[in-house]
């Protein structure tokens, strides 16, 4: 490396703003920058609009987007669970750089806590079950991390892979945990039925309110799964807020430093082991929460619900979206969870298409669909430089 900025990462800003062509995508900076540049009230209004739209999504029954073969509310719930899981795994994998291939283990512990203590062995209230599930999963995360986080890289991946399988096999072989036949009658969230919300019906380009098709507001039943989606969406917003707070603090910096160079971080005063354990605990917390929500929507769980494939899909969601960027992993989770549901008609082709998509992605966007912010501020500096250069060029 020599003086000067000839490294491939410092392509001039002018080239970046024309990145439409070869980079298989859009100028990701442009949208973000335009949003940040908006005046504060407009920005908040825009955010509010997006939030309302997200909540209203299952009611709008938008053609093309909406799934014709399955209940759209249910699909949205699945997507939302993946998003939640991806946000949790992103802390472990994206921020702290720990490859966890057994994340489904935490998901399972959360689900099993709710199922076992809510139906099979005890009948605790749902309000008690959720915090209990989260606490138990977090503890299991710490118990798994304490001995294993001393190994790095591939070794950690193998150990966590084993953890995920051990959890599933334990459930499969323990009568007390329902064994192979699983657990039925998992408690649902308590319903507070207030009113009914009608869905829309589309006739061509016009939408009419369909009074026959309604969602009972906050009735957590079997058929209509929209309320579960709303619940999960709310949890996602809370997790997003917490994620942001941690990210912009000593803790987030410590995680990133550990990911970049663990030894250097330790020598700069970062207690890396403690921080890695913390990342594991946070990841487990969110994974367990997601699993608990999954179980209480499903009403029934068995070891088959927590196969290794699910762990792989979770990692895929994070990597496809862009590990380390919360918006990236959300997009990744949506892609991984939604597309197969939308195209259920092509079920036999799903894995083939999925594999093909991953190959393309690895080739064209190895950093993920939306790579980590990797210097939004650096970009601003680039722009300033560009402006200066243009100024001198004109003079």
């Amino acid at each position: 490396m020599t003086e000067g900025k000839a490294s491939p990462d410092t392509e001039p800003a002018s080239a970046r703003s024309m990145a439409w062509g070869p980079r298989l995508g859009w100028d990701r900076g442009a949208l973000a920058r335009r949003v940040t540049a908006l005046p504060r009230p407009v920005k908040w209004a825009l955010i509010g609009l997006v939030v309302v739209l997200l909540y209203a999504l299952p009611l709008l029954e938008i053609p093309i987007v909406s799934t014709p073969d399955t209940d759209f509310g249910g699909v949205l719930f699945t997507v939302a669970s993946y998003v939640l899981v991806a946000l949790g795994l992103n802390i472990v994998l994206g921020y702290a750089g720990l490859l966890d291939l057994g994340y489904v283990g935490f998901y399972a512990i959360g689900a099993y806590t709710v199922a076992v203590l809510g139906s099979l062995q005890a009948q605790l209230s749902w309000w008690l079950l959720i915090p209990l599930a989260v606490v138990l999963t977090t503890i299991s995360g710490i118990l798994l991390g304490a001995p294993t986080l001393r190994v790095r890289g591939d070794y950690l991946a193998i150990v966590t892979l084993g953890f995920g399988e051990i959890i599933r096999l334990t459930a499969l072989n323990t009568e007390w945990l329902g064994a192979a036949k699983g657990i039925t009658g998992v408690p649902r969230p308590p319903s507070v039925e207030l009113f009914e919300v009608p869905h829309l019906k589309w006739e061509g380009a016009t939408a009419v309110v369909d009074l026959d098709d309604t969602t009972r507001f906050l009735f957590f039943g079997v058929a209509d799964q929209t309320p579960y989606y709303w619940l999960t969406l709310t949890v996602i917003f809370l997790v997003l807020g917490a994620d942001r707070m941690l990210r912009l603090s000593r803790i987030g910096r410590g995680w990133e430093a550990t990911r970049e160079d663990e030894d250097a971080a330790e020598l700069m005063g970062v207690p890396t082991f403690k921080f890695k354990l913390l990342a594991f605990a946070c990841g487990a917390f969110i994974g367990g929460l997601s699993g608990a929500l999954f179980a209480s929507r499903q009403g029934f769980i068995n070891p088959e619900s927590f196969l290794l494939l699910l762990s792989i899909l979770f990692v895929a969601a994070v990597v496809v979206g862009g590990a380390g960027n919360r918006w990236g992993v959300i997009l990744g989770a949506v892609v991984v969870a939604y597309l197969p549901e939308r195209f259920r008609g092509f079920e036999e082709w799903r894995l083939l298409v999925f594999g093909l998509a991953l190959l393309l992605l690895a080739n064209f966007r190895p950093q993920g669909l939306i790579p980590p912010r990797r210097a939004k501020r650096a970009q601003a500096v680039d722009e300033q430089l560009e402006a200066l250069e243009e100024g001198t060029a004109r003079a």
Binding site: M245, S249, P372, R377
Partner: protein, 281 residues
């Protein structure tokens, strides 16, 4: 504490020992990397640590910063044995270092790199961060002040928002020093900071090392191959060869020490092939 002074006069050249290695040995399998090495780094001085390649200089650094535990012997900092302290705890105690091969956090901005150093003394926990507690806000503010001030000292203030890996080579070297200084050390250990520098950059670095001691009041331990630089900037020099200390003293004395000359140029008994290309005494 060292007094700070902007004068060119060295502050406390004959201060008490800040860091002492006492008969330190370290063995890797059959290899004795350090063999009964003892020397002091005195408060307020610039001590150069030199020796041919493989003499054990970096191993010395690693023992001081807790990367390796000595097989025997003891390292004391400000009179206190380091014992089995963790590496991050030693940093908090007041020893900071840079690396022979640059080891920055490449995908973080320059400012964030330095902030990680400043965080060494911070105590913000998860709850603090989640609720944005007064402690969190105070530490963030102080951390950024420290970081920006240190970066200004090293002439990096305009590069604060660049990714570390996008900085030039010289800037990366200085950013490593900035990150180490942000941990508020009493002893700054520089591991070959001039590697890959041209003469002009070396001269600037010499000036910088002096300012780190004179203006910031830090004690500096310097590993360096470039004899001109070491001899020009150090108050005292210690020489290692094959894990043993063979000389220690003022640059002039060390330069004329027959053992040192032999180590670098080979004795008559040795083959001329032993000549070390960087040992230009």
């Amino acid at each position: 504490m060292p007094s700070t002074s902007v004068s060119e006069q060295p502050v406390t050249r004959n201060g008490a020992a800040l860091l002492s290695l006492d008969d330190v040995s370290i063995q890797f399998g059959g290899l004795k990397a350090l063999d009964g090495v003892s020397f002091d780094v005195r408060e307020g001085e610039i001590l150069g640590l030199i020796g041919p390649n493989g003499a054990g200089k970096t191993t010395c650094f690693n023992v001081m910063t807790g990367v390796y535990q000595p097989t025997s012997g003891e390292v004391r900092f400000a009179g206190e044995p380091l014992g089995r302290r963790k590496r991050f705890a030693i940093t908090r105690l007041g020893i900071a270092r840079t690396f022979q091969n640059i080891r920055l956090f490449g995908n973080m901005t320059a400012l964030e790199n330095v902030l990680v150093g400043a965080d060494a003394h911070h105590r913000t926990n998860v709850i603090d961060a989640l609720v944005r507690s007064p402690r969190h806000r105070r530490e963030e503010r102080e951390g950024e002040e420290t970081a920006r001030e240190v970066m200004k000292f090293l002439g990096l203030e305009r590069r604060a928002d660049e990714l570390a890996r996008n900085l030039s080579y010289g800037e990366q070297r200085r950013l490593e020093i900035a990150r180490a200084m942000a941990t508020k050390p009493r002893l700054l250990c520089l591991d070959e900071p001039a590697a890959g520098f041209n003469p002009a950059e070396k001269a600037q670095l010499m000036d910088l090392i002096r300012r780190i001691r004179d203006v910031r009041g830090l004690t500096v331990l310097l590993i360096e191959h470039d004899m001109g630089l070491v001899m020009g900037v150090s108050d005292r020099v210690a020489v290692l060869e094959f894990g043993r200390k063979i000389a220690e003293g003022a640059p002039v004395d060390v330069r004329n020490d027959p053992a040192v000359i032999a180590a670098y140029l080979g004795t008559e008994a040795d083959d001329a092939g032993e000549f070390d290309q960087e040992g230009d005494l």
